[in-house]
Symmetry: C2
Subunit: 499 residues, 2 copies
Amino acid sequence: MTTQEALSALSALEAELQAYGHALGCLSYDGETVAPRNSAPARGETMGFLSGIIHEKITSPKTGEILGALLSAGDALSLKDRRRAKVLKKNRDDLLIVPADEYMAYQQLMAEAMQVWHDAKLASDFAAYAPYLDKIIAYNRRFAARKDANKPAYDVLLDGYEEGLSHETLDPFFALLRKELTPVILEVAKRPRPDTAFLRQAYPIHLQRKFTDRLMQIMGIDRDDCAVGETEHPFTTGFNKHDVRITTHYHEDSVLSSLYSVVHEGGHALYELGVDDALQGTVLAGGSSMSIHESQSRFYENLIGRSRPFCEVLLPELKALFPEQMAGVDAETLYRAANLAEPSLVRTEADELTYSIHVMIRYELEKAMIGGDIQTADIPGAWNRMYKEYLGVDVPDDKRGCLQDSHWSFGAIGYFPSYALGSAYGVQMLERMEGDVDVWGAVRAGDLRPITAWLGEKIHRHGQLLTPAQLVENACGGPFDPNRYVSYLKKKYGELYNL
Amino acid sequence: MTTQEALSALSALEAELQAYGHALGCLSYDGETVAPRNSAPARGETMGFLSGIIHEKITSPKTGEILGALLSAGDALSLKDRRRAKVLKKNRDDLLIVPADEYMAYQQLMAEAMQVWHDAKLASDFAAYAPYLDKIIAYNRRFAARKDANKPAYDVLLDGYEEGLSHETLDPFFALLRKELTPVILEVAKRPRPDTAFLRQAYPIHLQRKFTDRLMQIMGIDRDDCAVGETEHPFTTGFNKHDVRITTHYHEDSVLSSLYSVVHEGGHALYELGVDDALQGTVLAGGSSMSIHESQSRFYENLIGRSRPFCEVLLPELKALFPEQMAGVDAETLYRAANLAEPSLVRTEADELTYSIHVMIRYELEKAMIGGDIQTADIPGAWNRMYKEYLGVDVPDDKRGCLQDSHWSFGAIGYFPSYALGSAYGVQMLERMEGDVDVWGAVRAGDLRPITAWLGEKIHRHGQLLTPAQLVENACGGPFDPNRYVSYLKKKYGELYNL
């Protein structure tokens, strides 16, 4: 096979993978947002079947030949084509360890687990969910062992979400956060709680939906390229750069919950929407690693969304839609309420200060689950003990405990650390961005496009053309330094709580 | 290939077709309801690709062998298996006339046409849509000619929606309706118009959504099996009997519009939901011909939904949600408003009396389009002339004229007559049902399940196991007689308007 033949064959394969991936993505999004409850088993079968075809295409000897021809072509290939071959080869190597039958069964298990988790969470019924989680853990341990039997299985899974990541990086990272942030958290808990009474009122959901429209405008997200759905646990998915979906969950008695989930998912969406046209349809389309993706979502949610200037922009908009509920509230009150820090139960609703501790608990638990140090049935107990030990809170039910997140149900074990890493990356990006862009002027003008343009240049447009490490270097202007994240949090919360 | 081998291979093929059909259905539903605008081109490509695979599977020589073995097995096959083979063979014969490339191009054209139609309708811009319609007409003429060059092309298309249907049945059918109903329509137009002032108020959409929930309960539709979406032009689709979707469109100033679209689409949904478990996953799952499907939707919408007893049930429910708007309205006022008969512009909003005239206009126009007697550019003019001639109304714009329906955009030319036929079938079914079931007692009790049970037994459960003609015979207890439909309409509107 000549290099030209291999490149043509690669493009043809990418087009097929694109089509199957699009169909799978659509089935999954539909299932998460609008599908009727009883549709899950048949959808699981269809998704399992389509996943099996993707598996077959990627692992086929033909694909092996294409990659062989490309990887031996050396400098005859452009940087982009070399990277396409490399990313596809990594996908292929990951799949080659799983026979097609097993892969299909795993995909179907996850589709069913997702539905069971939905119901189990609503009913706070861990026992109904446990057999599914048990199987997902067993699959992940087997997959990790096959991939690299010489490394701890959890390290292998971490590496799948962020190349090179292992407990050797994360143990000290979380130790630093514990050491530096715990005293702050304990001190904050003693200070007067900010006024949040105005939030504990009914904010009608049909008006919250209108507020989402306004947030999308402020973020500069074109609704013709990005839809907003509703689901239990908000997420973002993108089929291509003209078809991105964010989701949110409206709670009548918690207007900031959906507000900040929209800003968070909007950050993910802007990443997907900003990938270069030249990468569309290739395996390099879409965002890079999970932590880079989370660096974008948490950047908008916290560094921008929970800033004083953003709260100043939100205030009149909220007052226009909710005049009675927001009567007498000023921007400083909104800012302090949006940054209320206190040990709590639910990660997605946690403040910036305690957030990484929620992540750390999941990290420790996953290490034990995959390491075989805990039985599935014991997860709720271990979860609740750690929440008591590290955050001082009593978990009243599994709905607000170990059933709160959807991640394990779609097989994402080793993903959570990305949230803490991404949060930390973001602080370094912001510090650098402030040298180039009038960040706070843009926020005050209610138009985040200058901020997105900077991130687009440094991160978004590159898709998977650059590695996560290259992107961090690109946007942060130097290697990752978690101390900057710690300093940022200490300064912000020191000022907020007069520490 | 033995008969047993052929049956196993048939089941395996059906499972694959089911999976691809499910994915296509999901992409289509998503595109119609929640997808962002700019997603259309990529979705068109994916749907074209998947349709091509279905085409390839059905037309493959292997499928030919399977059908050969089954069709020669005679009485060794059960009735069900003979019918499976026969239905698949009909699908195959239809596809064999279209090469895979052309089929894929056609599927993609329709996906794009659908999006263009959406926008063209909003903008009342027929010129933007015309090139797409033009191509769709040309495809349909070619397909019809290849299928049977000896018959008028439009008859070939009609036969595709209802076996055996042709202009020989429809010309006299529509002539009867014109002859018998025109004097009634003209007479009604002279009578005092019922009071509909209470309808011309704002009925907030978030409350109309709540009313939809109540309608679904009354109809006995389990939301765990059937979701409700929102779209420009309401439709129903079903992926399997545990995953049916109806859609509606809410207009703040027209509460009855969404109400009756939900009851109409609910009728389609009940059909899909009622197909026997034993037929699931086979080519016999889902409803029979289009006219049988429309007989169900229009049965619930008009014969039940626009009856006096149903209006009596609706009244207190509407008053609970819309107390100010419905103040002073009694059941008789609601009944008369819901049955307002007058020549109008929009088919889906038309009353029972004039409805078939809307259908007849489309029938005449399609005959001319396919027969080559009219150019695409002349369709708006011809449409407007016929609306003036047959209904006496001036069409102010194409949005309310020839761009109002989505059917042509998804290639459905020859479908419209089903609506009129289905309406007529329904009357005969109701007359027979009244002998077996306390129809109006069920309606007054606000629980339509006894009615659905009767239709389920006679029609729904059979899926495509019986032919349309057998189902009509089954439910009507005799051959189709359009005079019954005419008598029903004359009696109902005679009483309403004191004729």
